[in-house]
Symmetry: C2
Subunit: 420 residues, 2 copies
């Protein structure tokens, strides 16, 4: 047994005892030297997905051609149900299609249509930019007040802050479950209750939680949710997003983009729009089949591992990272920009340092992929199925060396100007 | 030389003299017995696209991972310019992303925002369902009058009918360039002028014309256009759509779905939406990279063949089909449901017969893929780069045999009920 968590052998032992370790082999991770801690931006490629895309392209598209639509039409709902398993959503409430941005727009408009007498949308000033922009656009074009909760960049949104922001004029509360910047988890059940107490509907963005933490949408009584599939759901660059509409609301709400995939009897090509019953009306145009199939593969792989085990390992990974950062990086001027309580933290850890952008560049040169976020943050995304404890150790070890180098350069005299 | 167009040898000679014939080898057409005349629904798979998807998945996603965003961000505009070449659109006016339905919604709302004093949207009652539904939704939710031009199902929309429909209350005219049902081509330049004379903007749907006929958007003075990429652009099932906004309108219009890919300085993650200059603001969420890359491949392949030559062969293919249908199918009760004038016809030919749906099923059994459209139509999509004149001959030959069989069955007594 290693004596201290600071020894690499300690991380090796954690990997050896990790029940999810075998899942790493289910991914194409071709560069053995790469430490990829950016799955919160783009998840790794599952081998099953590479195979499925190859088959879909050559056989279903190349050979069967348009005849494949006989089974493709069922995909957005089937992939939606597969994602629903990870979100705590019973079947028939999730579909896959469009982007997160477009889905946010559709569901926000649908929710607002319910409350002609209310004119306030509540979100927070540290919500992901696209979320804020979508709501800002709706507010600007349709005369809503967009009320921004001021949020602590490290600790995320509190139930208390939401309580103070909502009132009888609030139609919609739209927040992220896990903050893209800090990884802070919002109290979904508590905040949903607060929104409902004010008479508003709530729309959750699950981009940074789907496939990483337990969302428990049904149990929380959530109304609406959206999220992307290219992060922890491992469905590839720009793969289609999902949306969730609770059963009780599906036939009550009307979304604004009326398309032929949301039509009750699509191929009747009828004269008027007649929305499909249930979740179907929230589809719009022709779904991107390769992307939807990739979402289904990713969701199945995660379900096989189990959301409970994924969450458990996520907590252990982030906690290990925080402990090493405390020991090695804090003395070098780095501070934790994520909640310290693991129960309040998603699967990425954010640190802050004035030279964050430079650190991310130097880490990339040292084969550690992380990312920079304004103003002075760098994020380590830890994906339970691909990240090893030794990856965490190596990444923080290299970070401390980079910080040493940076501080040495800071005190060194500037290089002499080259003479001609 | 074959004596008559009705001899198969005649079709063989046409194929032998076809300058575009070598392009067929650029596609994965693995089943030598299949006659695929449904490229107007889903285009065939270019070999270059299969290769590019494989490379994108394994290398750009699987190996380079999120680092690939350094070059992926340029793709929607680059693929847009490649599509623009086919549409007669100068660079910087086309982007690839979202679905046709979502793009229609974005551009229709953007156009309507220009005319607070006008409240009429003009379309036609035979426009593609998703187009009608999108406009119906906008009209219903925002108090516009949706004025439907009654259109001849075979001959398509006339400039005269548009002239009679528009007036000083018209904000937007939205029509398809090539009718999905009949293949009739609308007079883009003439109708655009009529819309402009009334003070309205025009939004063209190019789904059935992009990659098949010359659109000439810039020359026609068109304002806005959208179209899908999975038909003649050969970019795969549900591949992303394109949209066109004429230079003069780009900074004047504001589209309704404000997303982070439409933001001027995307990764500043700034506090307010500040639309990117030019065509950029018409992007919304994260683009589906595999699909956008496939659009670029398809558009490049078509550009290599040349839109002029593609259009020329399209006319010859459809004219040949019409001549065989006249000779063999008209006596069996089939009538032409597309314009007879080849200049007014896109790249698909529609026939009508009371048993159209059955004919399509029987043709499929005979290895000829076409499709059925309400009420009594069957369509033959002829794609200049993959369809041979012999395919046309074989398809119409098999159709006449099927019709013979059907008419014989009609007069035969019903089969005796089996006794136990």
């Amino acid at each position: 047994m290693a004596d201290s968590p600071e020894q690499r052998a300690y991380a090796e032992e954690l990997d050896a005892g990790d029940p999810l370790a075998p899942f790493r082999d289910r991914f194409e991770l071709t560069d053995p030297h790469l430490i990829y801690l950016n799955g919160n931006s783009l998840g790794a490629l599952p081998k099953a997905t590479a195979k499925r895309i190859g088959q879909l392209v050559r056989e279903e598209w190349g050979t069967a051609l348009a005849r494949s639509w006989e089974h493709w039409t069922a995909l957005p709902r089937r992939a939606g149900d597969a994602v629903g398993v990870l979100l705590g959503a019973a079947p028939g409430q999730v579909v896959v299609g469009d982007s997160t941005t477009v889905n946010l727009y559709k569901l926000a408009c649908a929710a607002l249509g319910e409350f002609p007498g209310r004119n306030v949308i509540v979100t927070d000033d540290d919500n992901f930019p696209s979320d804020r922009y979508v709501l800002e656009g709706i507010a600007a074009k349709h005369g809503y007040e967009l009320r921004m909760i001021r949020t602590d960049m490290n600790e995320g949104i509190s139930a208390q802050a939401v309580r103070e922001a909502v009132d009888s004029r609030t139609a919609l509360v739209s927040l992220s479950h896990v903050s893209y910047r800090s990884g802070a988890i919002a109290d979904m059940a508590g905040i949903t209750r607060i929104a409902h107490d004010s008479g508003a509907l709530i729309l959750w963005d699950l981009c940074h939680s789907a496939g990483a933490v337990e969302a428990g949408l049904d149990a929380a009584g959530a109304d609406l949710a959206v999220g992307c599939s290219y992060k922890y759901l491992d469905a590839g660059p720009g793969s289609p997003a999902f949306l969730y509409v609770a059963h009780a609301l599906q036939d009550r709400l009307s979304q604004p983009i009326w398309g032929w995939f949301g039509q009750r009897d699509q191929f009747a090509m009828g004269p008027g729009y007649d929305p499909a019953p249930g979740i179907g009306q929230f589809l719009t145009g022709t779904p991107q089949i390769i992307g939807v199939a990739s979402v289904e593969e990713g969701a199945r792989l995660l379900a096989e591992a189990g959301v409970g085990r994924i969450r458990e390992k996520g907590i252990r990974l982030t906690s290990y990272l925080v402990s090493l950062a405390d020991a090695w990086l804090a003395p070098l001027g780095v501070s934790l920009a994520s909640p310290r309580d693991p129960a309040r933290r998603g699967s990425h850890v954010t640190l802050s340092h004035p030279q964050a952008q430079r650190i991310v560049q130097d880490l990339a040169k040292a084969n550690v992929i992380t990312d920079y976020r304004t103003p002075d943050r760098f994020r380590f995304g830890l994906a339970a199925l691909t990240t090893r404890f030794t990856d965490v150790w190596d990444a923080i070890d290299r970070t401390r060396h980079i910080l040493h180098d940076l501080s040495e350069r800071d005190v060194a005299p500037p290089p002499a100007t080259a003479s001609a």
